[in-house]
């Protein structure tokens, strides 16, 4: 399919007025997208751990049931951790949303096609795993309702947002993992986090 949505516009729309939202950004393009939308201490961008973004989101969601948690990741990253959709489907955290920005490509390694380019339907997988809501978004009209769902709708919510396969500039978050961890914990838990 030839998607028209631009990935950076999707990240901008979903992270607008993010307020108390806790965000995990999957490695590669989605981490750059979230940084382009505005580097934030309550975003944990991954530089590795491919396949683990959704599980980090589950850990956050279980530990902070009063906060909304959003995982934004790519189709290649999600495909590497498909089992985590089953684990989340069993746990059913109402405060967790997983959004896959799906360009049907491995963007960091030469734009090779992922399985979603060949018909693998991630929303159908999430639905079959027990997510409360799972949808595929293909137009800009779907972004505002998705953003509202991320903030309000009992989950777990899943959305695959189909975007154009475009190669765009890198907007890099800090690289130091210990720094990214410490700033997230401080922003969420206060300075007491340093003494934990």
């Amino acid at each position: 399919m030839s998607a028209k949505l631009k990935r950076r516009d999707v990240a901008d729309a979903l992270l607008a007025e993010r307020r108390e939202l806790l965000v995990v950004a999957g490695l590669g393009s989605t981490a750059w997208d979230c940084t382009a939308a505005g580097d934030h201490p309550l975003t944990f961008p991954l530089w590795g751990a491919m396949g683990q973004a959704a599980m980090i989101g589950l850990g956050l969601a279980l530990a902070q049931p009063a906060r909304r948690v959003l995982v934004i990741t790519g189709d290649g990253e999600m495909l590497m951790g498909l089992g985590s959709l089953a684990t989340i489907g069993v746990q059913k955290p109402g405060n967790l949303s997983v959004v896959v920005i799906d360009n049907e490509r491995y963007g960091e390694t030469g734009m090779q096609q992922t399985h979603t380019a060949h018909g693998v339907d991630l929303a159908a997988v999430a639905r079959a795993c027990g997510f409360a809501h799972a949808e595929t978004v293909t137009s800009a009209q779907g972004l505002a309702p998705l953003r509202r769902a991320i903030h309000q709708r009992p989950g777990p919510n899943f959305a695959a947002v189909k975007v154009a396969a475009e190669k765009i500039g890198l907007v890099l978050p800090p690289r130091d993992g210990a720094l990214l961890k410490a700033r997230f914990r401080r922003a969420l838990l206060g300075e007491a986090a340093d003494q934990q």
């Binding site: 806790l22 995990v24 944990f44 991954l46 530089w47 590795g48 751990a49 491919m50 396949g51 683990q52 973004a53 959704a54 599980m55 980090i56 989101g57 589950l58 850990g59 956050l60 969601a61 279980l62 530990a63 902070q64 951790g81 089992g83 985590s84 089953a86 684990t87 069993v90 746990q91 993992g177 210990a178 990214l180 961890k181 997230f184 914990r185 969420l188 838990l189 986090a193 934990q196």
Partner: protein, 175 residues
């Protein structure tokens, strides 16, 4: 008399304030898993692969909760790459690993990973504590938790097959 080591470990986890328990089921951890599920202060999460437990623990620690990962030695092979994240981000990660492929193993397919387990963990920067005596497990787990949380380190307690004592397929099936 054999000490009730799963109960001792559960008490130790509880006293340390562990709230998230990720696990891939293992016969050696059967009773501890049941104790964690029955504990209203703990969230026991069944995983499809041990790797998911590293993500769970990372997210939990970002949000201020202590976790532990329970698995069999074969699972160590599934977490090698993501142990790099734990080290880079300095996530406290205690792991309790029931050993296979060592003391009296009956399944030859368990032997390669079981024999490689300590070296694999150490090569990724994990502190390894080996325990061969059930009477020392409670103390060893307590020490591992203290080290992991005080030092923001990954620490594995390898629970010897001698303690678990499964000698045959029939015994395992009867667990």
């Amino acid at each position: 008399m054999t000490p009730d080591w799963p109960l001792e470990i559960h008490r130790t986890l509880s006293a340390a304030g562990v709230r998230l328990v990720g696990y891939v089921p293992d016969a050696g951890h059967k009773r501890l898993i049941e104790l964690c599920h029955a504990d209203g202060t703990m969230h026991a999460v069944t995983l499809t692969t041990e790797e998911e437990g590293i993500g769970l623990a990372t997210g939990g620690w970002l949000a201020g909760e202590r976790s532990v990962l329970l698995m069999q030695s074969s699972g160590v092979g599934n977490i090698i790459n993501v142990l790099g994240t734990v080290r880079e981000c300095r996530i406290p990660l205690p792991m309790l690993v029931t050993m296979r492929g060592e003391h009296g193993e009956f399944n030859p397919w368990q032997v390669p990973m079981g024999q490689a387990t300590p070296a694999v963990l150490e090569s990724m920067g994990v502190v390894v504590h080996r325990v061969h005596d059930a009477g020392q497990l409670g103390t060893a787990v307590d020490a591992a938790l203290r080290l992991a949380y005080a030092s923001y380190a990954a620490v594995a307690v390898l629970i010897s097959q001698r303690i678990i004592g499964i000698k045959s397929f029939q015994e395992q099936a009867g667990q």
